[in-house]
C-alpha cells in the first residue's frame, strides 16, 4: 500500500500534487470523459498520468488567480483547514469530523440563558413547478419580501420534490449566510434573522428522495447533489446556476444525497444505489465540473485488489459499497478517509460468499489521485444492510502510552474502532451497542466475525440491532477536552425472515421480511477512544436523533427523540438545558455572528437559532 506523508499538519496549505511511488492502483480511474466510459479507457489513461499530473498541478497554481475575479465574500478553501470556530464551512465543520467547536460563550454556566433568537420556515416547492403550495409563517422568516426563486432541472418536477422539504444534513455558515439543502432544494438564508436570500428548486427526473446532506462552498461557487444524480453548481450570491453535470447513471438507479466536500480544488462527490450497482467516490473540478478521478469501492476488473473476496467478478461489480456519508481528511497525508456501504444484494449473501471487499470498510484514498492507501473492513460480508458509512473522526492522541495519529469510527453494526490512520492498522475493537447478537467476536485483525446463523432464515432469526443499526448517518462527535467520543446509541431487536430462497440470492434490499419485536434502550453514549470502553450512558426515553455537536463550552447538543433539543454536560451526560421544539432532523451546529454565539438546528423545514439572552 502506498503511504503518503508530508509535513503539513492541520495548517492552511495549498499543497502541490506529488508523484506516487508504486504500481498504479487499477481500482482508481482518472477520466475527464463521461462516466460510463471511464473504466473502458482506464488503460489508455494510464499512459497519460504524467501529463494529467502536470495539468492538475497547473490548475492548482492557477486557482487563486481565477478566484480573485469572483468578488468578495467567498470561502477560501484554505479556511476549511482551520480548527472549527466562528463559521461552519464544511459538512462536519472542519476536516477532522470531530464536530467540536472552540466557541465558549455558550458554556455550562451560561447555557441556562440560551433562548430562541429566530425561527424560520423554509419555502417549499414553488407553485410554478407544478407542486403543492406552501404556507406562510406568521411573518417570520421571510424578511418582508419574497426571496427570488430560481428553477433548474431536467425533469417535470412532479416526482419527489412536492411536499414539505426536510433538513437532514449540514448547514454551512459563511460570512453571515447560511447555505442548506433538502432533496431538490437549496436555500441561502440570512444568519442574523433567518430570512431567505434566495431559493433554488430543481425539477427532478425522479428517483429516491430520501435526503440531502448539505452543500459545499468553494469561493463563491456552491455545489449540491440532486436525487436524480446531478452535481449542480450555483453562484452562492444569487442562486443562479453555473452548470450541472451528471455524476452517476440515473437509469442504473443511482440516487444522490451526499454533500459535496471541498478540499482545495477538489469537489468530492459520493452517490447511493439500492440495486446491486458498484459504489464510487469521485472528484470534480470546481471551476469546470470536469471529472478529476473516480475511485470504485468494489473490484471492477480482473486482478483488482479484493476481487478474491467475491465468488466472481460479476458479483463484485454488482456488490454495492456505496459512498453516501462524507469522510474526514488528514492534510498531513493528503488522505481522505471514508466509510463504505453494505454489499448487495443486501440480505441474501448466498450469491456473494466471501468478505466482499471493500464493502462496509473504512477506506483511505489520496485526495489528489484517488488511489487507495489502506482499508479496514468494519463489517465483513454484511447481510443486514448495516452500512459502515458513519463519519470517521481524526484524533491525534495517545494509546498504550504512545502518541498516535488515529481515526475513530462507530459503525451501524454496533462496533467501535480505533485505527492508526497512517496505516489502517486496528488498535481497538469493541461493541458499543448493548444488545448486538450477530457476531462471533472479532478476528485477529480486529474485524468483527459475522455469525452466519444470524442472517435472515426461513423460520426467522432474532437479530439485534434492527436494520437501522445501532447508529446511522447522524454524526458522532469528539471532544479533546474530555477525550470522549460521543454517539447516539439505538438498541433494538427484529426477527429476520428469509423470503426468497433462490440459490442465486435476491436483488437489492429484497428477499427478507424484518419484523420488529422490541426496542432495547437508546442512549447518549461516551466512549474512551483509548480502550473502546463505555465511560457513561445517558438514557433517552425517545430515540436520540439528528446527530451531535460538542463545544469548548464543555457541552454536547442533541435531540433527545422526545421532541426536545438538549444541551448535556460533556463530562457526565447530565442534561443542562432544553427546548421542546420537536423532532430534531439534523445535527446541531454553532457559529459566531456580531460577537454572539448561535446554536442552530433544524426540525424538518424549520430552522431554530438560539443565542444567549
Amino acid at each position: 500500500m502506498t503511504l503518503l506523508r508530508n509535513s503539513g499538519g492541520f495548517a492552511p496549505a495549498n499543497p502541490p500534487t506529488r508523484s506516487l511511488a508504486g504500481p498504479r492502483d487499477p481500482h482508481s480511474v482518472r477520466a475527464t470523459r463521461s462516466l460510463p466510459l471511464a473504466r473502458f479507457i482506464n488503460a489508455a489513461l494510464c499512459a497519460w498520468q504524467p501529463i494529467k499530473k502536470l495539468l492538475l498541478t497547473t490548475s492548482l497554481l492557477l486557482a487563486p488567480v481565477v478566484l480573485t475575479g469572483q468578488g468578495q465574500g467567498g470561502l477560501d478553501p484554505a479556511d476549511i483547514y482551520k480548527p472549527l470556530k466562528d463559521s461552519w464551512p464544511t459538512y462536519s465543520g472542519d476536516y477532522t469530523g470531530r464536530r467540536y467547536s472552540a466557541l465558549t460563550q455558550v458554556n455550562q454556566t451560561t447555557v441556562k440563558n440560551l433562548v430562541l433568537a429566530w425561527v424560520s420556515r423554509l419555502s417549499g416547492p414553488p407553485a410554478a413547478a407544478g407542486a403543492g403550495g406552501f404556507g406562510g409563517f406568521g411573518g417570520f422568516g421571510r424578511g418582508g419580501g419574497a426571496a427570488p426563486t430560481i428553477i433548474g432541472g431536467e425533469g417535470t418536477g412532479d416526482f419527489g420534490g412536492a411536499g414539505t422539504p426536510s433538513i437532514k444534513g449540514a448547514i454551512l455558515m459563511v460570512d453571515g449566510v447560511l447555505y442548506l439543502s433538502a432533496p431538490d432544494h437549496v436555500w441561502a438564508v440570512d444568519a442574523r434573522d433567518g430570512h431567505e436570500l434566495w431559493h433554488y428548486f430543481w425539477k427532478t427526473r425522479g428517483g429516491t428522495h430520501i435526503g440531502s446532506r448539505g452543500v459545499g462552498l468553494w469561493h463563491n461557487y456552491l455545489f449540491v447533489e440532486t436525487p436524480d444524480d446531478y452535481l449542480v453548481s450555483l453562484d452562492a450570491r444569487t442562486g443562479k446556476e453555473r452548470w450541472h453535470k451528471e455524476i452517476a447513471d440515473f437509469s442504473q438507479q443511482y440516487f444522490s444525497t451526499w454533500p459535496p466536500i471541498i478540499i482545495d480544488n477538489h469537489v468530492l462527490v459520493g452517490t447511493g444505489n439500492d440495486l446491486d450497482e458498484p459504489g464510487f467516490l469521485q472528484s470534480y473540478d470546481p471551476e469546470t465540473g470536469n471529472l478529476q478521478w473516480k475511485f470504485y469501492t468494489v473490484p471492477m476488473n480482473p486482478g483488482d485488489p479484493g476481487v478474491n473476496t467475491w465468488p466472481s467478478l460479476d458479483a463484485a461489480r454488482h456488490g454495492g459499497a456505496q459512498v453516501w456519508v462524507p469522510g474526514s481528511f488528514d492534510p498531513a497525508t493528503r488522505l481522505y478517509i471514508f466509510g463504505t456501504g453494505n454489499p448487495t444484494p443486501g440480505y441474501t449473501g448466498v450469491g456473494r460468499k466471501g468478505d466482499n471487499l471493500f464493502t462496509c470498510s473504512l477506506v483511505a484514498v489520496n485526495v489528489d489521485t484517488g488511489k487507495m492507501a489502506w482499508y479496514f473492513q468494519t463489517s465483513p460480508h454484511d447481510t443486514h444492510d448495516w452500512d459502515s458509512t458513519q463519519t470517521p473522526i481524526l484524533v491525534d492522541g495517545v494509546v498504550n502510552g504512545k502518541p498516535g495519529k488515529l481515526v475513530l469510527q462507530a459503525t451501524r453494526n454496533g462496533y467501535y474502532f480505533t485505527l492508526d490512520r497512517l496505516t489502517g492498522e486496528n488498535i481497538v475493537s469493541t461493541k458499543f451497542g448493548s444488545t448486538m447478537n450477530w457476531s462471533l467476536g472479532t478476528r485477529p485483525n480486529g474485524s468483527p466475525d459475522p455469525n452466519p446463523e444470524k442472517e435472515a432464515t426461513v423460520p426467522g432469526s432474532l437479530v439485534s440491532p434492527q436494520e437501522g443499526g445501532v447508529t446511522n448517518w447522524p454524526p458522532p462527535a469528539y471532544s479533546p477536552d474530555t477525550g470522549l467520543f460521543y454517539i447516539n446509541e439505538h438498541n433494538s431487536f427484529n426477527i429476520l425472515y428469509l423470503m426468497d430462497t433462490d440459490p442465486r440470492g435476491s436483488m437489492g434490499l429484497a428477499g427478507k421480511q424484518a419484523s420488529g419485536v422490541g426496542s432495547a434502550g437508546n442512549f447518549l453514549t461516551a466512549i474512551d477512544y483509548k480502550t473502546g470502553k463505555i465511560v457513561w450512558r445517558h438514557p433517552y426515553s425517545g430515540g436520540g436523533g439528528g446527530g451531535l455537536l460538542t463545544t469548548a463550552g464543555h457541552l454536547i447538543f442533541s435531540g433527545d427523540g422526545s421532541g426536545n433539543f438538549v444541551a448535556f454536560d460533556a463530562s457526565t451526560g447530565k442534561p443542562l438545558w432544553y427546548s421542546r421544539i420537536g423532532g430534531i432532523s439534523n445535527a446541531p451546529e454553532t457559529y459566531t455572528l456580531d460577537g454572539h454565539q448561535y446554536v442552530l438546528v433544524a426540525v424538518n423545514d424549520a430552522l431554530y437559532a438560539f443565542t444567549l439572552n
Binding site: T164, I210, D274, E277, V517, D560, N604
Partner: protein, 323 residues
C-alpha cells in the same frame, strides 16, 4: 444502503411562537407537539417506500418522502404488446437457457439481466442488440442469429420485465415465497418445557393464551407477536403488551402519589392519564419527583437479550399447537 430517514413532519408552526417565549423556562403549557415525532421510535421510521418487499409499513412520508417507482425503468412507456410477446417467445428460445426464465441469471452462467448496466442504460435496443449480434464474444456471449427486428423485440421484452421491478432494487414479484408454516421447524415438546420454565409465571395456555394457535393461524405472525409481547409488539415494541398499558407512579416531594397510564416521559417532564381520563404532568429535575414506570413488557425486553433461535422456534411450535 438505506438510511433511517423519513420521519414525521411535526406540526410546529404555531408552536414556534410559544417556544420563543418559553424556550428557557420549560415545556410549553399549550398542547405539545403530537406524539411520534421524527425520533420518537428507535431507528425504524424509513418513510413510505413504494414496492417495499416485506417489512412493516414505514412512518408516513414526511419531508422529502421517498418514492420508489420513479427510476427510468419504471417510467419507460409501455411497449407494443405484440412485439413484447414475440420478444418473449424469442427470449425463451434463444436466451433463457443462459439468463434464466426470470432474467435473473441461469445455470449456464449468463448474468442477471435485471441489474445489468447494459439493460438499465439501454433506451431502445441500441446497447442490447449489438450484444445479441455478437459484440461481446470475448466475454463469452455467443452471437445469436436474430434479425434486427427480432433482436429489438427481445430488448422490448427485457424492458417490459425490468419495468416490473420493485423498489430498492427488488426483483419482480413471482418468485415463490416460503409459506408461513415453514416457521414451524421447532419441537412443540421442547417448547412446552421452555414455556413452563420461562413463561408460565405470567402466561397460561388455558388462560390468557387460550387458543393462541387458533387466534394466530399465521405462524409467522404468531411468532412475531409472542416474542414481542402482544398485539402491539411490532416494530419497536410499542408501549403495551396484550392491551395492558405502561403505567407510572409519581411521588412528588410534597404530596401524595399519583398513578396512571404513562402518556409521555423524558428528562424534563412526565405526563400520565388518571383513571378519570384527566391528565397530570410533572416537571422533572433529576430524581425529583420520584418516578416509577411499570412496563408490562419488561419481561419480554429482558427475554429478547437471552432468547436463542432454537428456543424461539420451539415455543412457536408449541403455541401453534394450542388451538
Amino acid at each position: 444502503m438505506r438510511s433511517k430517514d423519513g420521519g414525521v413532519a411535526a406540526a410546529l408552526i404555531g408552536l414556534a411562537i410559544v417556544v420563543a417565549q418559553v424556550a428557557a423556562q420549560g415545556p410549553p403549557p399549550a398542547p405539545a407537539p403530537p406524539e411520534g415525532g421524527a425520533q420518537q421510535a428507535p431507528p425504524q421510521g424509513r418513510g413510505g417506500r413504494v414496492g417495499r418487499a416485506g417489512g412493516a409499513p414505514g412512518a408516513p412520508a414526511g419531508g422529502g418522502g421517498q418514492r420508489g417507482a420513479t427510476f427510468p425503468a419504471q417510467q419507460r412507456a409501455a411497449g407494443d404488446p405484440a412485439v413484447i410477446a414475440r420478444g418473449k417467445t424469442l427470449y425463451g428460445i434463444n436466451c433463457q437457457s443462459c439468463h434464466g426464465v426470470d432474467l435473473r441469471g441461469g445455470d449456464q452462467g449468463g448474468p442477471n439481466l435485471l441489474r445489468s448496466q447494459v439493460v438499465l442504460s439501454d433506451k431502445a435496443g441500441e446497447l442490447i442488440v449489438p450484444i445479441i449480434h455478437g459484440s461481446r464474444q470475448n466475454m463469452g456471449m455467443d452471437p445469436i442469429n436474430l434479425s434486427d427486428d427480432d433482436a429489438n423485440a427481445v430488448a422490448e421484452f427485457i424492458h417490459s420485465v425490468a419495468a416490473t421491478m420493485q423498489g430498492q432494487g427488488g426483483p419482480p414479484r413471482g418468485n415463490p415465497v416460503p409459506p408461513s408454516e415453514a416457521v414451524l421447524i421447532g419441537s412443540a415438546m421442547a417448547g412446552q418445557t421452555y414455556f413452563a420454565g420461562k413463561c408460565s409465571s405470567c402466561h397460561s395456555v388455558t388462560g390468557d393464551l387460550k387458543g393462541i394457535g387458533g387466534r394466530f393461524p399465521d405462524p409467522r405472525m404468531l411468532q412475531n407477536n409472542w416474542v414481542g409481547g402482544g398485539e402491539g409488539g411490532g416494530r419497536g415494541g410499542g408501549g403495551a403488551g396484550n392491551g395492558k398499558p405502561v403505567t407510572v407512579t409519581v411521588t412528588p416531594a410534597a404530596g401524595s402519589k399519583v398513578e396512571g397510564r404513562l402518556v409521555r416521559i423524558d428528562d424534563f417532564i412526565v405526563i400520565l392519564e388518571q383513571a378519570d381520563n384527566t391528565q397530570r404532568s410533572f416537571r422533572r429535575n433529576g430524581d425529583v419527583p420520584k418516578v416509577e414506570i411499570h412496563d408490562p413488557l419488561e419481561a419480554h425486553k429482558t427475554l429478547l437479550t437471552v432468547l436463542n433461535d432454537k428456543d424461539m422456534h420451539d415455543v412457536t411450535a408449541y403455541l401453534a399447537s394450542i388451538k
